[in-house]
Every structure is written in structure tokens, then in C-alpha cells.
Amino acid sequence: MSLSQIGTDAAGVDATAVPVAPQPGMVGRSPGRLAWARLRANRTAMVSGWIMLFFIVLGLAAPLIELLYGISPFEQFQDKIANNSLPLGYFGGVSGEHWFGLEPQLGRDIFIRLVYGLRTSLFIATSAALLTTALGIVLGIVSGYLGGWIDGVISWVIDFALALPFLIFALAIMPTVTARFYGPRDEIPVPFRIGVMIFLFALFGWTGTARLVRGQVISLREREFVEAARASGAGLFHILFRQLLPNLWAPILVSFSLAVPGYITGEAALSFLGIGVVDPTPDFGVMINKSLSYAQTDPAYLIFPGVVIFLLVLAFNLFGDGLRDALDPKSSR
């Protein structure tokens, strides 16, 4: 099936020269179905989509995998750790029993910790992306459509949020918030830390989407259908979310799909700096932070988590790119 529109695929001097000529078979299809068809035809996107799905299933099924693998993420195998605190054997203690070897010092199994880390990472990234996108949409639409002082205020807030050094604030907010909600003897539950991280991402991350949506809304604001809705006395809410929003879903979906890998990286970075998830909760960033200093003596410890997170982010990025191409064929490809 060759379903993509031929004309708009061209770029350079040809772009406008080649006529847009949809095939008869495509007539009457909704844009969503068209995009889906284009996505299906994009092999890279499909493969990365499957990899992505594989990772997601792996993360969701972590307890099941633990059952099958027979090792818990907290179990220590210190009898397999040498007195220099590195795992005994070759390449970080890789064996039939410990597929990715063991952590130095504590001797926990890296494979099962990565599986659980995947779960944490994906959950945080998806929630953060959802929240920031939602926040960005609302503020972007309001700002772009209403203009005037509201736009001025929101735009300034965006500038302000961008001027705050994120990591420093994250570093300060995490203990402040946890101290406010939990007593000194309470263990900070993992979900709470995760919640705070998502909140932090939302607090600082909505600006990108808001800017994008604002720009789109400004260009849509004067279009006929909006004028028509306005003329027919439609309420503000109706215009904003019934008229404008449906026309924005493509860029929003793309920015969402590319935000997820961004937050995977961001989560790992926060945890890398000790702000986010902390040991003993399995997490990519924590693992890489620890493994970095073993780069020389136990490179396997760095390589396994590093490669997994790389593949994960790559799969999401490739899929996001594919989605963008499918939704907006005029863009990069």
C-alpha cells in the first residue's frame, strides 16, 4: 500500500511543484485514520513502537518477571562479591543466574533492578508528560486566544519559569516538601517521592507546550470557524476547548510523545543527582550515578543500565518522530 500523499513528501524546490493528489482510496478517510495508515507504513516507527511496547510490558510485568526470574530487587548476594567489593567473576558477575551481573558493594541483581527501574521511570515520565501537556494546553490556549494582559501575564510566567534554575530548585523543594508532609520518623514512601518529582516536572515543564499551543492558537484565532463560533454566541469554554482544541491535537500529540523520553532522561538526571528516587528503590539514574565511578573497574555496571536507558529513550524518540511524520507529513521528512 502506498498511501502517503506524494506531493507534500517532496521538499526543496519541488515541494510546491508536485501536485497534491490523494489516491481515490484515501478519499473520505478521517485525518486520524490517514495518520495511522502512514504510521503503519513507517517501518522504523513500527519497530521502535514494538520495542517501546516491549519495554512498557516489561515494566508493567515486573513482579511477574521477578517471580519467573526468582530474584527480588532487594536481595543481596554478597557471597558473590569479592573482598574488594566488586562482583566475583567476569564482566561484573554476569552468569546464568544473574544475567546482567551484580552491583558492587551490596551485590544486588542488576537485571531485576533494571526491570523495576523501567517501571519507575516509565511511570514518572508518562505521568509528567501527561500533566505538563494538559497544563500547557490549558494555559497556552487561554493565553493565545484571550491575548491582552492575560497573555502578557502568562508569557511572563513562562519567562520566569525558564529563568529559575530547575535542578537547584528541585534540590531545594524535594526535602522541603517531604519535611512538610512526613514526620521525622516516617519513611518517605516511594510513591510520594515520585509524586513530588512529577509535580516538579509539571511545575517547570509546561512552558514548552504552552508556548507551542499559544503560537498555534494565535494563528487559528482569526480563522473562519472560530469567527463563526464567536458570531453564533458560543461561550468562551466552547470556543477554547470545542473549537480550538480539536485543531491542535496533532502538534500536541507529537509534543507529548517526545516529552515522554525527555522525562525519562529528566527523571534519571534528578535521581542521578540524588534528588529524585533514592536507594534502595531501583532506578536508572541512581544506578548510573553509582556505576559512573566504577567505569574503570566494573564497566558492566555502567553499560547495562546505560544501554537500557539509551534504547528506551531511542525507541520513544523514533516513535515520536514517526508519529510526527504521520500527523504532519510536511515536517522534517
Binding site: T44, F74, Q76, Q78, I81, A82, N83, N84, S85, L86, P87, L88, G89, Y90, F91, G92, G93, Q105, L106, G107, P175, G183, P184, R185, D186, E187, I188, G274, V278, D279, P280, N289, K290, S293, Y294, A295, Q296, T297, D298, P299, A300, I303, V307, L314
Partner: protein, 576 residues
Amino acid sequence: MRSRAILAAGGVLALTVALGACSENKNTDSDVDTDRVASGAIATDPKDSMGPAKAVEGAAKGGTFTVIRQTKISHMDPQRVYSFVGLNTAPLYARFLTTWKDDGKGNVTLVGDLAETPGVNVNKDCKVWEFKIKDGVKFEDGSAITSKEVAYGIARSFDPDLAGGPTYIQEWLANDAAFDTKWDFKANKTSLPPGLTTPDAKTLRFEFAKPHCDLPFAASLPATAPLPPAKDTGVELDNKPFSSGPYKLVKNTVGVEMLFERNEHWDANTDPVRNAYPDKFVYKFGPNAEAQTNRLIADGAEDQATLGWNGVDSSLVAKVAGDAGLMGRTLREPTPSAWRLSINTQRVPDLSVRQALNYAIDRSGMVKAAGGDLKVAPLTTLMPPSTLGFKKFDAYPADIEKAKSTLAGKTPELVLVIGDDSGAQELGTQVKNDLEKAGFKITIKVIPADSKLDETKKKDNPWDLYLDSWAADWPSGAALLPVLFDGRTIKAEGNSNTSYINNDAINAEFDRVLALDPAAQAPEWAKLDERIMKELAPAVPLYADVMFVMHGSKVGGVYIDSIFGYPAFTRAFVKQ
């Protein structure tokens, strides 16, 4: 095609995988002498306190000795020096009333530095002490050092602006922990604190309200360094101290580099411990332990006369240990820094629970979690082996079954507080897993590492267990056991007795031993250590840090000092 780039990246990974996989990691024997026993004495013969210091075999004069360290030294003003790096750097540019002759293997002798002897206990009641200043000792400008300048140095340590240094002598003179309210230095710059007098230019006299037999020890700290009042620049002295030692600080780019050159007015014949072989000492700040170690492994031309202060990074221990050539350029000695799992006895009053905690901890796992046996040495006593009179014992040999039976079916729920620094988290996990095997229910509470330090020092802190370390200021049980376990000193905050143990019988023992002659005290402290562990079990001794430092191929004469457990430079030289 897109996958080609990914393949290429994969190729690089495969390469490194291959590199990493080519060696098998095996157990190796570390040769740290963890069982060495310290011996010590106080020199009574003035000859022991005279120079020149005994020559070091193979040493030659000249060259530039470099020390690299991650962060700057917090204070250089001798009255404010209290960090290990400061304590071991100060001898380069300052001299004190007393100092230690140290073979680097735990055998120490306290001798006079500026003083002719390590003090005279005038009435044998430890209340009145006299020190006679040597002849021929001079400042960097050639002026003579007299008892006046030493007294002025001690006086200015009362200035609250100049905080940071040790407070023993001030508290003893003022007979009050809040010594600076008893005597205001700023208002009385021309006088001396109560109890401190200089009958003549050679004599310094201390008169205390209570006996303080440890004064000769306390006088070895840099706070007794002399300073002419005219040279007192207040807080600025931190950047440019006025030298009384063999070197003077000639260039100080704060936080980046310090350059010491010879003080021509220093006379080797007056100095019993400093050989002062190199012409220059340079301190460079910035690289972390890992970077330092890597540079020293490489042994590049500029690093051959260099020592990495922060030690062999734990991540590189395996690499260094596996290479005999590299091991030849390391120093590895147990240090007096002793780690323990403190039990807040206010919250865990049940002795059997505390004993069960002791049985449950498996030190071999702790050692691995703490970075291996070249980083730490297991410890079953409260006092580390470097303490004078140390005697090894293990009151509670690790045994999970014994721990369970001691608990007798109880499942105590305890909160362990740890700092958020990465090393602590591994230890916390290790402790939790060990204890839970024995039936405890452990909650780990992570708080910022720095606030953990002072929060646990508050009497009403809400936690049950915490990791604590203590390094005594001199190798006497007196500087450890009463400080950590005398319940009468417990205050609202700022406690060192973080177990908050208060036992009358033990307290009485402290008083008894403290009144003994320092030499007689040593075996008594060892006995008391065992008694505290058996009767009170206020903590679980875990391990003592091992100092494992590396230097370049042209470094000689450096040793790990027996008092603080850090590299000492008094005998350092650059191989020519």
C-alpha cells in the same frame, strides 16, 4: 541506514565490553595490618624534644612536593584548624607547644615542640601545668618566639569570630563550655584569659580549676601555635597565616592553590619531628578522589612528587590492589576513625534488643558494602586499635540465630536515619537487610547528610539507630569513651554521646580513670571499653576506616600518622 549509526554505537560498546570482560575479579588478600597495637609514651627527657629530627633513610633535600585535594582547607589560621587536612598541614607553617613523634605504625611519643618538654605537672594533680619555651625558635620575620606569643595565640582562640578550632584548653581555663562568655577576648586584647599566665618570656603557666591530665595531649593541637599580637589580622589570618614552622605560605589563591616556601628563620636543631626536606610544598585543590587516583596511577611527570590527599577512590581500589607496581606507591594503614551503629538508648532501653542488634550485624558484608577491606577494617570494640592500650575483644560475635534467640520472639520496629550521601545509603541498606534477617523491622529515613550530623546530636532526636563515627584528637581512651558515653554531659543539642547512655557506675569509672596518670590510664580504658559493650551495648562497633592513599613515584618519607590517620608530611621528601 539509520541503524548503521546505532550499530556503530553498539560496536563501541562491544569494544568496551570486551575490555571489561578480559579480566576476572577474584578475592585478594589485603595486607593492611588491622591488628597492630599502638604503643605510646610521654617523653620526660628534654633531649627527646630537641632537634634535629632523625634523618630519613634515602631522603634528600630539595624539590617541590605537591598535595592534591578535592576541596580547599577550611581554615589555615592555626587557632581555627580542626580538619584532618588542616591538622596535618599546620606543622608545615606552625609549631605548637607539644607534638607527636610518630613512626607511622602506631608507636608514638609525645614531645615538646616549642616547649622544652611536654609540660610539667607542677603539683602532680594535673591542675597546674608549666611549659618552658625553647631557645632559638623564631617566626618567619626572624623575631623570637616567647611564651607571650604562645599565650596570645591561646587567648585569641576565645574570639567567637575565630571559631572552628578545638575548645579543650579554653573550656578548661574558663571551667565552662561557654568559655567566650566567661572571658571576652575583644575587650581584653592586652590581657590573658583567666588561669593563663606568662611569668617570664620562657614560661607559660596554666592553672585549672579541675584536674586536666590530658593537657600535654591537647597542647599538641595547632591551637597552641604562637602569634605576635601585631601580626593578628583577625579572620584574614586564614588566608595568610604568620609562620613559626619550617615553611611559610607565600602565595594563596584561595580554593585553587597554595605555595609554601622555606622559612629561613626556622632552626632544625630546635625541632624534634620536622625534617623539612623539600624546598617547596604546593597544595592544589579541585580534582576528586577518582581524578587524583587516576593521575597518580598514570604517574605523569608533573605528578611524580604528588600525593592524593583524598585517597584511592573506592571505585579504583580493585584496580590499584590488583597491580603490585601501583600498590608499591600506596600507604595503607588503619586509622582512628571508628564507625559504629549508635543505638539511641532513650528509645531502645531494652538491653537484650541492643545486644540482639550487636549479634545481627555481619561485619564481612559491611566491609564489602563500605568499599572492601582496603577501605575499612572490621571493628568489634568501641575504641579503635590505634588507641593506646587497645585490647581486642568481640562481645557479640555475629550470629543471626543468637540474635533471634536474644530477641526472644520480639520484632522491634526501629527507624534508622542515614544521610543522603551515596556511601551512607549502601550502608543503610546493608544494616537494614542484616537486621531484618534477625527479625527486626527497620525503616530507613534519609535526611540531608549534613543535617543528619547535627540532628542526631539533639537529645530528643526521634530516631533509634544511626551511623556515627568518632576520631579522637589524641590516642587516649580519655578522648573517646567519656566523650561518647558519659551521660552527665548530655545537653539539649550538640551531643557527642549520641547513644544518650547514662549509667552511674560507668560514669564513676570515667572519673576514676581520668584522674590517673596518663600512662596508667591506657589499660584501664581498654577494660572499660569491654565493660561498656557487655553491660550497656550502647552501639554496634562496625569498622575503622583504612587510610589508603597513593602517591607518585618520587614521593618518599610520607606516613599515615597514628594520631589522626591521615598522611603526614613532616618527613616527606622528593626522590632526586
